[in-house]
Amino acid sequence: MTTLDIPPSAAPPLASVTEVLAIAGRRLRRLRRNPGRLVGITLNPLITMVALGYLFSSAIQIPGSTNYIEFIFAGVVMQGALAAVGPTAIAVALDVQGGLVDRFRSLPISRSAVLIGHVIADLLISMIGLVVVVAFGLLFGWRPHNGVLPTLAGFGLVVVFTFTVLWVGVLLGMAMSNLETIESVGGLVAVVFSFLSTGFLSVDKLPGWIQPIAQWNPVSSVISACRDLWGNGAPTGTGFPAENPSLVILVSLGLLFLVTSVLSVRRYRNA
């Protein structure tokens, strides 16, 4: 070749910050033109908060907690995080179908930058949703009781949880092509994982066969850790997950992140 004017370069091992920011910036620009995306992830938890915390609150008695809105708030927040799984999956699947992933893959950019960019953008979008949910929570009577640092630590945990479940969305989007299926699966994730937890009822109020599922559901551990940090009722229940919430959170979220991110990037490489 006589036109070889570009010196060869080594592939950077990780996604470059520039590339990730470019992709995340693109998603945020899209959000500005199509803010409907925000409605979905804020409406879902808000409906739960209003339905359970306002309409049913007098009918539901939680032992050891006098304020039902405070009891369910952590669960509502996690539901908001889980509600972002479907939209993330759809955003990724649309990029695959529209040929954008092919274009990105034909560029000399890192193989993970596009997916990380999606996650970063969706994390920011979820944070906006979180602010709205917190505002409504305060309006409905939720209060943190343990001071600034534990409260912030609780929100830090929400961010980590959201980041992790968004990778589930990315994997769904890379693995499934039918948008309607993705939408149903995403909706199922948001409902099943939040309701089959100790987020809205204490374990002993749940049907017997669901109790072990709710106890071992990592979402329960995250919820009770947040409740603890926000002073919204001490963790209840017995058994390994209830007694070792940090360990369960660390292992389950760590594994989930590892598996979903590795599988997603592998799928992206071979799409």
């Binding site: 592939a11 910036g25 693109r26 529209g98 893959r105 034909s106 000399p108």
Partner: protein
């Protein structure tokens, strides 16, 4: 010879379907290769393998001097790919799409904006540059898609069915753009189902079917393979076909073929220009009124028919 694309024995199997069964291609730097074939022939698979989107099962492929399997990153730095769908973000403006790619290619903010402006100007998209792509016409989207391929100054361009679904005017404008790029030294591999397109743009044509190369050559070579030019006579009154055949047969290489419904007589003349004159005189002397009298050459459609043995799908 300076080759921008060198492919030998490229093979790819999906599940149990052999999409590519050992394809050889070579494309000179600065030339256009038209990859022609019916649906499912393996055109897109070949492009995807060359653009490093999929790893072939066998064979070797070098693009811009680098092996697509061993050095995909080096290949990616030198190629542009326009797939079958215009791969642009509908919600972003044309300019934003181009700036995004510039940023991804590490041109920096100012560099990306400058490159976007250059490309918008070159592709006549300045006026539409700040509108969301969702409002663009098909032709504008294709132009933006092509512009998107060029952000990183590639040496080799892959165009997978670049004009599918475009109206004739947009198609012509895209063809002119491609010719302009080639004039600037770009190497282009384009797949198409439109024989006219390959005829117009390609220096070399490779016809593939069922994952194999079944013919290659320049458009003229392929046409010559199919046959010589022939005389086509349309008689004014269909019942005069027999009379026309009677006087024309002595001038033809083989028995003339006829289409009694359309009143057509086709024959290959024995001796060129003299044959044409003789045929005209013979028809006049026999009193056959002629509606059309023309020397026809095979089109690439004839080539396609001849090679693939069925109607090309489009």
């Amino acid at each position: 010879m300076d080759l921008a694309i060198e492919v030998t024995g490229l093979r790819k199997t999906y599940d149990k379907t052999e999409a590519l069964r050992g394809i050889d291609l070579s494309v000179r730097t600065g030339s256009v290769l038209g990859l022609l074939g019916p649906n499912g022939a393996g055109k897109t698979t070949a492009v995807r393998a060359l653009a490093t989107l999929l790893v072939p099962d066998g064979g070797q492929a070098k693009v811009a001097g680098f092996d697509v399997v061993a050095q995909p990153r080096e290949v990616r730095r030198r190629i542009g790919l326009a797939g079958q769908n215009a791969a642009v973000d509908e919600l972003l403006t044309g300019r934003e799409n181009l700036v995004l790619l510039g940023r991804l290619l590490h041109l920096g903010g100012a560099g990306a904006r400058r490159r976007a402006q250059e490309l918008l100007e070159r592709f006549d998209l300045v006026a539409a540059g700040d509108r969301p792509v969702g409002t663009y016409s098909g032709g504008m989207r294709r132009r933006l898609d092509l512009a998107s391929c060029l952000v990183g100054h590639p040496q080799v361009l892959f165009l997978d069915e670049p004009t599918t679904g475009l109206d004739p005017a947009s198609r012509q404008s895209l063809w002119n753009t491609v010719r302009g790029l080639v004039a600037d030294g770009m190497t282009v591999l384009l797949t198409t189902q439109y024989l006219e397109e390959a005829d117009y743009l390609a220096d070399q044509i490779v016809v593939i079917a069922a994952g194999q190369v079944i013919a290659d050559g320049t458009p003229d070579e392929l046409k010559r393979k199919v046959g010589q030019e022939w005389l086509e006579v349309a008689v004014a009154l269909p019942d005069r076909v027999a009379a026309a055949v009677a006087v024309l047969a002595p001038l033809a290489v083989d028995e003339p073929s006829t289409d009694p419904v359309k009143g057509l007589v086709k024959l290959q003349l024995r001796d060129g220009m003299d044959g044409i004159a003789a045929a005209a005189v013979a028809l006049r002397d026999a009193g056959v009124d002629v509606a059309d009298f023309a020397l026809r050459r095979p089109t690439l459609d004839d080539v396609f028919f001849n090679l693939v043995g069925r109607q090309p799908q489009g």
